[in-house]
Assembly symmetry: none
Homo-oligomer: 281 residues x 4
Amino acid sequence: MKGISFNTWAYSSFPVWVPSYPLEEVIRRLASFGYDAIEIGCASPHAWPAALTPERRKDILQLLRKERLAVSSMLPAPGGGPGNNPSSPVVEERALTVEHYKDILRLAHDWECPTVIYLPGWAVFGTSQSDAWSHSLEALTGLAPYAKELGITLVVEPTPTDSNLVDSADDALMLAEQSGQDNVKVMFDTFHALYRNEVASDYVYRMGDKLHHIHLADSDRLPPGMGRCDMEAVLKALKETGYSGYLTAEVGFDKRAGEPDWYAKETIAYLQSVLKKHDWR
Amino acid sequence: MKGISFNTWAYSSFPVWVPSYPLEEVIRRLASFGYDAIEIGCASPHAWPAALTPERRKDILQLLRKERLAVSSMLPAPGGGPGNNPSSPVVEERALTVEHYKDILRLAHDWECPTVIYLPGWAVFGTSQSDAWSHSLEALTGLAPYAKELGITLVVEPTPTDSNLVDSADDALMLAEQSGQDNVKVMFDTFHALYRNEVASDYVYRMGDKLHHIHLADSDRLPPGMGRCDMEAVLKALKETGYSGYLTAEVGFDKRAGEPDWYAKETIAYLQSVLKKHDWR
Amino acid sequence: MKGISFNTWAYSSFPVWVPSYPLEEVIRRLASFGYDAIEIGCASPHAWPAALTPERRKDILQLLRKERLAVSSMLPAPGGGPGNNPSSPVVEERALTVEHYKDILRLAHDWECPTVIYLPGWAVFGTSQSDAWSHSLEALTGLAPYAKELGITLVVEPTPTDSNLVDSADDALMLAEQSGQDNVKVMFDTFHALYRNEVASDYVYRMGDKLHHIHLADSDRLPPGMGRCDMEAVLKALKETGYSGYLTAEVGFDKRAGEPDWYAKETIAYLQSVLKKHDWR
Amino acid sequence: MKGISFNTWAYSSFPVWVPSYPLEEVIRRLASFGYDAIEIGCASPHAWPAALTPERRKDILQLLRKERLAVSSMLPAPGGGPGNNPSSPVVEERALTVEHYKDILRLAHDWECPTVIYLPGWAVFGTSQSDAWSHSLEALTGLAPYAKELGITLVVEPTPTDSNLVDSADDALMLAEQSGQDNVKVMFDTFHALYRNEVASDYVYRMGDKLHHIHLADSDRLPPGMGRCDMEAVLKALKETGYSGYLTAEVGFDKRAGEPDWYAKETIAYLQSVLKKHDWR
């Protein structure tokens, strides 16, 4: 595995407005806790592409290098004003969503980030699942070559907790396969697997060599090891299947009452202790 | 009072992705339940300005007229990818937020909507409250003349549940007053007053003739009358102070499990029964 | 609509062992409560096909006629010893499942029952969803002509609460369509729609003229009208879309503490009152 | 004691459909966790007798030997479609139940399993307890010689949580004694003792040298040591009374949300630590 990464939602204004920290502050804090990498969500005040001038992008890159923090991955904020739903029945929304993904891919390239998460969207009332699926597949198929030129892998994530389209490991695998492009892979989030009451380690074996990225989060978006997920079994499965990506935690962003630093520190302490116990690193 | 209105968040993809309905469907449903007006949140798939072509804007207006549904008010979706935080420390985000409000004001004008809600934002870590306040005041002061030309009133809303800047009735009154412009008024949401454990009807008397709009929502974002808020006292206060705006409910949007129609139908049944009981209409 | 029906699970030894009543007792009780029909689950001590001699089948039919109770529908008990999973990786289990459905179809014919529910099964670990889907489609495609000869319609039910294969309205529609046979339709259970946090009345509109049967159950398998489901909206949608099947309640069978008569009586009282209020019958 | 065993329900499609694993997978996993034995429930996709060809039975036996895992015990799945209630008022169901037990006894013999659990059933409404008891005793008395020829012991289990016939230690002892055959013994499940608010270790002393098998499960079907049962007292009583059977855990099968591996691993870790602490092995 490449190292341990932490997702920025808990530090940004999405989806809850506060607490919220400037990106520079988040980079310095995560580095100080011992993280190898950061997963940057494209929301204000961190990384809404149109709000980032070329100068600021360069400054951020320099800070990342100085703090020896890699950008493991990036992703859009779904469901806010713009929606960013590639399965929307509104053709203009779909077109804007594709443009937004291109903005994110360029930003990822600027920050030497190798992986961008693709959220397949959801079926709005009146749209059949097959039409929604087709819309999403079309968007993904169009984006993949653009990503490839920039050296970026797109990873499809099932999000059953929030959506109604790509719900399972197999749904994600099927969408990726139908795209027919080799820089499209899959990922999953243990929290979403728990929502379906499925066994998270089973997902690792099911996705096998298509598994390019992972979100670790326990029940209630708690730090790994604090809920009902058998997180050691997930890590063992990753080891056994030869997973070579980052261990990325996406936790603590769902309520204002959470203190982001607590989530970040508990997460890395737990992950490091398990990896050390089994000598898995 | 002008009539009863219902906010669209519960029917849109903000903040939870599903259930989500096309705007046309929402207009027809609310009209069929007996509503006089609709409050349109500017989120997909309903009303993200850049996704609405001139033709579609006209079609929506015609449908509104056919269904005899007025647009009581409009507002942006805060905290998604773009943030829309006029108090942000990021100058580019502030500029984009002002542009977004202008887009909304033009869209409101297209749909003959007289009122746009102004959400003052929140202080990001490292920004002092006085700086955040200044940023927000500057944005508001710049927007008011633009709104005035289009015949639109801006109403400042305190949002303590989600933010940390304009938390109380007095905060909102102060910001409106400091703008120095007569098309800037205030509003409040009973749900936010409950969050501070304040008495909602007191807000009506405190805001008095500056109160231009209101959000009715009971505890847990339930329909009015189903929670711990003394909603009859609020309606009585509105009657006594001569409130002449819409009664707008903003409920049921905070969790996926909510069925929007249930919220809309329970809300209008309750409000009509109270108004009828006291012959307040 | 054809009338009101009640499912027998709550009175049988499946899935909880007690309370359990002989089928004759259940028929007499449901008729005495005013039901038009009964949905018979094929579990002991009621209707395990191999335990029903020709004489007993005739006696039951005579009793049904005497009590003027139609058999609205029948279905197998999934997940017990035999499994009855048409998507199983074990070829012998799949073959036995098909034989079991044929037994049920013949029993349905003996009792003049026009509709048999098809439960598509679930993917066992190590079986991909596409393989599981293919297995289930093959079973369904083989059964449909057999059912047709007996004058029976098969209805595909999505069961997301318990399974991982046919989870949504669209999944059921797709499986039915892929079977390519006109006596294969769909149904849904409001309880399962709630599990996905979807809006039950939306399912009625989505399934439209393919909707041949329905299970009414409120949250926690409560009688209709006692939970968080907007049951009036479901009934209204059925009326608007011209649904011509039975209103069948499948409630109160998930825990030993439930008293079956209470569920049956509360259910019919509620449904009759709503139908009468709107003059929908 | 002979060693530690784990019951397969949590890995099968009974009583909840998923998660579900092929039997071969379960054998390999339990062996890898350090188990000495497996208790195989006769449900799909594992061990429904009619779905197991002679070849597959041999393959399973070879795998068991290769993984050095003994089959401690077997049992039927009660309450599914066939019912398997030896106390049923339906004579055909009783006959099928006896046949099913014979199928299980032959399968147990094929897999070198020395013990089969006898579940005495439950009284259906309209059947007196004395009639139900007589039915069950007749079935047991008929089965015992058949089991004896195959070298198998039948153990009567009280199941008050689910049934209403053999509820206590003394009920089980009485039924076994009335059978008048020396290969009929008794067992109990700590979970069922807790349901009656009885002291589990008292059952060990009460059953004494008739106690041939045991199910360890804490409150809420949690792994031993995680609930309100004084499990160390149970183990101490087993040691003192010279119990020579397996310690078999039957846990985690009652809800979809459970991860079987977690239950299996927590169980063996706890049991090994207690045995080691007291040097009881």
